[in-house]
């Protein structure tokens, strides 16, 4: 490219367009990062299509023979379908409850002045710093005691796990939604009041729709938190309520590790979540209120 055409090209670009060196740095950095990020995904995919001999010997980048056998075997080695159902129920319920509760709490924090607001936000956020290990055993004992005295089975049940998981995502959800709600102009609320809505009406009809990207983001976060948790799932579930996070270790704790099956099962339990996540991720960073009031 001659300097003259470069200059015209430069003039056509916006004044904030980056210099060429920046674009090269960007290319190199992003390529390296993509490799790092996708490496395990490639290993998962390629190894899940290999026969057991291939994954037991030295690693090879390309499968010698392709087989779908692991995908058929995974359902028999451990009761994967049941774990899958349990995880769906637990993570789904925890997400719905967590989002609804966080929306209410965040609305209160972002729209009202009230006594104890600071104490509330600090307390809730500070639960993030609690080591899970500190309240694992006490919580376990509380659930057992509630079960003994009221007959509500929390220990070993999906309900107990839902209850636990939704509080894990609550603090961050409340904090994030408070920020999103604060960025929704109050004029919108006031317009809703003029139209005869109450506070809840304004929240549901105006604030929630305007903050939808934020709410989707929070829901995704809550789902991932519940879907991936290992510590409480390993202590609080029994054979019938076991979730994927514990169940998947069934392949790995055998005397022979069926690595091809482990990879196939990992892929199978990941695909729905990753697909759903990638479909929704555009909401995550979508511009929020710009345009809502213009």
């Amino acid at each position: 490219m001659t300097s003259a055409t470069a200059r015209t090209a430069g003039r056509r670009r916006s004044p904030t367009a980056p210099p060429r060196s920046f674009r090269w740095a960007r290319r190199i950095f992003l390529t390296a990062l993509t490799g790092f990020v996708l490496l395990p995904v490639y290993v998962m995919l390629s190894s899940s299509l290999k026969p057991l001999e291939d994954v037991s010997g030295s690693f090879h980048w390309l499968p010698g023979t392709l087989t779908i056998r692991p995908y058929l075997d995974i359902w028999h080695t451990v009761p994967l379908a049941r774990y899958f159902g349990n995880s769906l129920i637990v993570a789904g319920s925890a997400t719905v409850c967590s989002v609804v509760i966080a929306v209410f709490a965040a609305y209160a924090v972002s729209r009202y002045r009230f006594r104890g607001k600071r104490v509330f936000t600090v307390t809730v956020l500070s639960t993030q710093m609690f080591p899970g290990i500190l309240f694992l055993l006490p919580l376990f004992l509380i659930y057992v005691n509630i079960g003994n005295s009221t007959g509500v089975a929390l220990y070993g049940s999906r309900g107990g796990l839902v209850l636990t998981y939704l509080t894990f995502s609550l603090p961050f959800s409340i904090w994030m939604l408070t920020g999103y709600f604060a960025s929704v102009p109050r004029e919108l609320d006031e317009a809703a009041y003029v139209d005869g809505c109450g506070a809840l009406g304004a929240l549901l009809r105006v604030v929630v729709p305007a903050a939808l990207p934020g709410i989707v983001a929070v829901a995704v976060y809550a789902f991932m938190t519940a879907w991936g948790e290992v510590l409480f799932a390993s202590v609080m579930t029994n054979d019938t309520t076991r979730t994927l996070s514990v169940g998947l270790q069934g392949y790995a704790t055998q005397n022979d590790v069926y690595w091809n099956q482990v990879m196939a099962a990992s892929l199978v339990v990941s695909v729905p979540v990753v697909a759903g996540f990638l479909l929704l991720q555009r909401y995550l960073v979508a511009g929020l209120t710009t345009g809502a009031v213009k």
Binding site: T16, A108, G132
Partner: protein, 307 residues
């Protein structure tokens, strides 16, 4: 600011907060108090069925825990130092990768949407599925890492163990950074959206270059966000349990013996819940002090910068 009369109903905010508050009390605060009480008790397998009747131990559990000359205290101190090093490195790398990636993707170009989706994949993958895959990659005889380092690049003399011994720290760090940096990326990316484009245009017209714009506009605008992001990343990595648990199994190698795993071991493997609770309480106290100090320091810094 004018607030309509209907908004002033004093009870409503509390009502809205009630579910969140009740649940946090049930699952976090009450168990935490019980955990603190337990740390003063001699709670072993004998008493766990009816922990209320376990004999009081006073500060005995703490005395054992912080006696750094005895084995229990010495291993705890080691685990604490490992966790500190791990957290600092993990937070730094996650923040750096996340911020750099978000800045590089700030301007629109072909394939940007795709890259964004790709970068978020580790975050979307269930922890155990991803970590099991890493565990496979780190296998000594049939893993990818040794295949590349030893068979293809000939960098190592023999095939090193990655999930045992000293290398396990690096393995754990790589996996945790891989898994966590997309979160920083996501948060910074969202933060970048809220910076008005006019600021950059004005700066560009004034002749400010790319780096100068990042230093003078982007980073200061992200400051409040970063304050919380770094704190959250730190607390997460300091309490990290899932990754080492899946990567190493129940017994983590000494070099990667994070506190949560260490306490889990002390509690559930040796069935000594009293000392386990005492360790948890000390961990909590440490995190409280660090958090308070951090918030104090960064908030003061921000006020100063605003002057």
């Amino acid at each position: 600011m004018r607030i309509p009369a209907g908004l002033r109903r004093a009870g409503l905010p509390y009502l809205l907060l009630l579910p969140a508050l009740a649940l946090e009390l049930l699952v976090h605060l009450v168990p935490m108090v019980i955990g603190i009480v337990m740390s003063f008790k001699d709670l072993t397998r004998l008493h766990i069925g009816d922990w209320g009747t376990a004999p009081w131990e006073g500060l005995g559990n703490y005395r054992v825990t912080v006696d750094f000359d005895a084995p229990v205290g010495a291993t705890l101190l080691h685990s604490f130092l490992v966790t500190c090093a791990f957290s600092v490195l993990s937070v730094g790398l996650c923040w750096l990768l996340g911020t750099a990636a978000a800045l590089f993707l700030q301007e629109d170009f072909r394939g940007r949407g795709l890259l964004r989706a790709v970068f978020l994949t580790p975050y979307a993958l269930p922890v155990y599925a991803a970590v099991i895959t890493w565990a496979f990659m780190f296998q000594r005889d049939n893993g990818l890492v040794n295949h590349v380092l030893h068979d293809q690049l000939h960098l190592t003399d023999g095939r090193p163990f990655w999930l045992l011994g000293d290398h396990s720290f690096a393995a754990l760090l790589v996996v945790c950074v891989w898994k966590t940096w997309p979160f920083a990326f996501l948060v910074v990316m969202a933060g970048l959206q809220s910076i008005p484009k006019e600021l950059y245009e004005a700066a560009a017209l004034d002749g400010a270059g790319m780096l100068r714009q990042i230093r003078r506009i982007t980073l200061p605008s992200l400051r409040p966000l970063n304050q919380v992001l770094v704190l959250v990343l730190f607390l997460w990595s300091f309490n990290e349990f899932n990754t080492p648990y899946v990567l190493f199994g129940k017994a983590a190698p000494e070099a990667a013996d994070l506190l949560s795993i260490h306490i889990y071991q002390s509690s559930f493997v040796t069935w000594n819940f009293g000392t386990g609770s005492a360790m948890s309480v000390l961990l909590l106290l440490f995190l409280l002090v660090v958090t308070a100090g951090y918030l104090l320091a960064t908030s003061r810094g921000r006020k100063h910068a605003d002057d």
